[in-house]
Amino acid sequence: MSRAIQVRVSESVVRTVHVEDGVQTPLELLPVLAPERMADLLATELEAQGFARDAQNPNLAKRTDPDGIEITVDLATATVSVKLGASTKLDENVSLEARVAEEGRAGTEAHLRDAAMGELDKRIAAKTEALRREVTAKLERKLGDLRSELDQAIGRTTVAALTERAQQLGEIQDLVTDEAGNVTIKVKV
């Protein structure tokens, strides 16, 4: 006659997970001057907004905001990349138990251990996904402000480029900017 025993299995996992989300999009920069000069003018505008040229690759202007969002503008290709990452340490424990006949102990223990590992994987995946969604939501909230900030920088870069182009054509007699941001430049050639 076999005895009934209780098998209890505990598994735990400590894992550091890192999630990241981001977008990359082209900037609509009109080719008023040569690409290198347009890049310089854009860099000047971006530096006024807290961007710094990358020491190793001067074609990149970068800024990291207090909320951790990294903004990188590639001046050569006129593209902007916005990225946010987050890391966290996850500590999960699972305990499972079952009553079985003594002779079935080994099989049950292995089965419970597999089930516990599966449950741990599921919990880690769910928490990682929750963290990723948090990162995505934070990034999305930021994009509206960032777009308007970049649009303004592009606008000022275009005006600077047009002014420089006008100076190349002749003598600027008048430069008027209306409330809508439209610029009129009168040039004596």
């Binding site: 989300d21 977008v23 999009t25 082209p26 609509e28 969604r133 995505t136 990034l139 777009r147 970049l150």
Partner: protein, 363 residues
């Protein structure tokens, strides 16, 4: 009580001359006939049933298969209404109906077509589930047409996806051109279908290709899962970019006219190729990439716009003036306003904060 039936002899048939084939061979022949004339057959019954196929076919079956496949040219012409139009052949403009524009050219079929027919008859495709693969092998233009027709036969049915994911099908440039939205992986070389007999096939299918691409664009507007949209967009981009580059290299830009015919009604109604809202639970990076990829057809319009600029520069005294005039005429209905609209749509697709697209209307 007896029923009296009057029989009228319409044809004198010599029983000895009727070719006899095995049941399995009969299924093979009926499948070939269904490819050529899908409306005349019960498509679903053919694709849903599965028959054990013997290793070889008899000479009668071979002759009947040849007969069925020999009717593909008229079937292709009928698909586009056999419209009279102009084609650019050998850097010259040739006008007329398809058989007037091109010299007669046979479609070459290889063992691949027989393998395809055997697979279609032998596999239970009704559920769209897993079936043994149809292995890739070198394709002649006739094989490509047979694959295209098989995909067409299964339109809107679960077997279409099963057929589209077969290695042999994914090696077919014509299948990619007609059904890019179902494809995955690397697009094949499109040169075989923009030169020689392949070009005649694509020319004959122009109207149908435009309808297919327009339908795929409307379908994309219903995809809310960005992963799905990304897969479709990437396949479409790969197909269209390679096809248009091949057309350009072969001096057959006219073959890409379907891009304009597909895009024009959508641009006129300002219909962007994405849903109003992609699943907000998915990563922003995936949604952003999916939106960019979805603009394949719009990028095709931009390529046409660059070509159009080149055509405008061709002078009356230049050799290819007539060709340029034909191509200018093809682009004219799109013109600058719709090109600008396509550029605007692409800009919105790439925007950091996408603006909602307009509501879908019936095509």
């Amino acid at each position: 009580m007896t029923d009296e039936v009057e029989l009228e002899l319409v044809e004198d048939v010599d029983i000895d001359e009727v070719p006899l084939v095995a049941q399995s061979e009969s299924e093979l022949i009926m499948m070939a006939r269904a490819l050529v004339q899908p409306r005349a057959h019960d498509t679903w019954a053919y694709l849903a049933s599965a028959h054990k196929m013997p290793d070889t076919i008899g000479p009668s079956c071979e002759a009947l298969l040849e007969d069925a496949l020999s009717r593909i040219w008229p079937a292709l012409w009928r698909r586009d209404g056999a419209r009279p139009r102009a084609s650019v052949i050998g850097n010259a403009v040739v006008r007329g109906r398809p058989w007037q524009r091109y010299a007669p050219a046979p479609l070459v079929f290889t063992r691949a077509t027989l393998e395809l027919l055997r697979w279609l008859v032998g596999m239970p495709l009704a559920t769209g589930g897993d079936v043994p693969e149809l292995e890739a092998r070198p394709l002649a233009i006739g094989d490509e047409v047979a694959i295209y027709l098989a995909l067409d036969l299964a339109t809107d049915l679960p077997p279409q996806l099963v057929i589209a994911r077969q290695p042999m099908v994914r090696k077919s440039a014509l299948a990619w051109l007609g059904f890019a939205h179902l494809m995955a992986g690397d697009a094949p070389d499109f040169t075989p279908i923009v030169t020689g007999v392949g070009a005649i096939v694509v020319d004959a299918l122009g109207g149908e290709l435009a309808d297919r691409w327009r339908g795929a664009e409307l379908h994309k507007r219903q995809l809310e899962n960005p992963d799905e949209l990304l897969a479709v967009g990437r396949a479409q981009s790969a197909a269209l970019e390679k096809f248009m580059a091949a057309c350009d290299a072969a001096h057959r830009r006219d073959l890409a006219s379907f891009v304009l015919d597909a895009a024009r009604p959508l641009l006129e109604r300002n219909l962007a190729p994405v849903a109003q809202l992609l699943d907000p639970g998915k990563p922003l990076s995936t949604r952003s990439q999916a939106r960019l990829a979805a603009g394949a057809l719009l990028r095709g319009v931009q390529t046409w716009s660059h070509w159009d600029d080149q055509h405008r520069g061709v002078r009356f005294i230049d050799d290819d003036y007539d060709v340029a005039q034909i191509l200018l005429g093809r682009f004219e209905p799109i013109g600058r306003p719709l090109t600008d609209r396509a550029a605007q749509m692409l800009s919105e697709l790439a925007s950091l904060i996408p603006t909602p697209s307009t509501t879908i209307e019936a095509p």
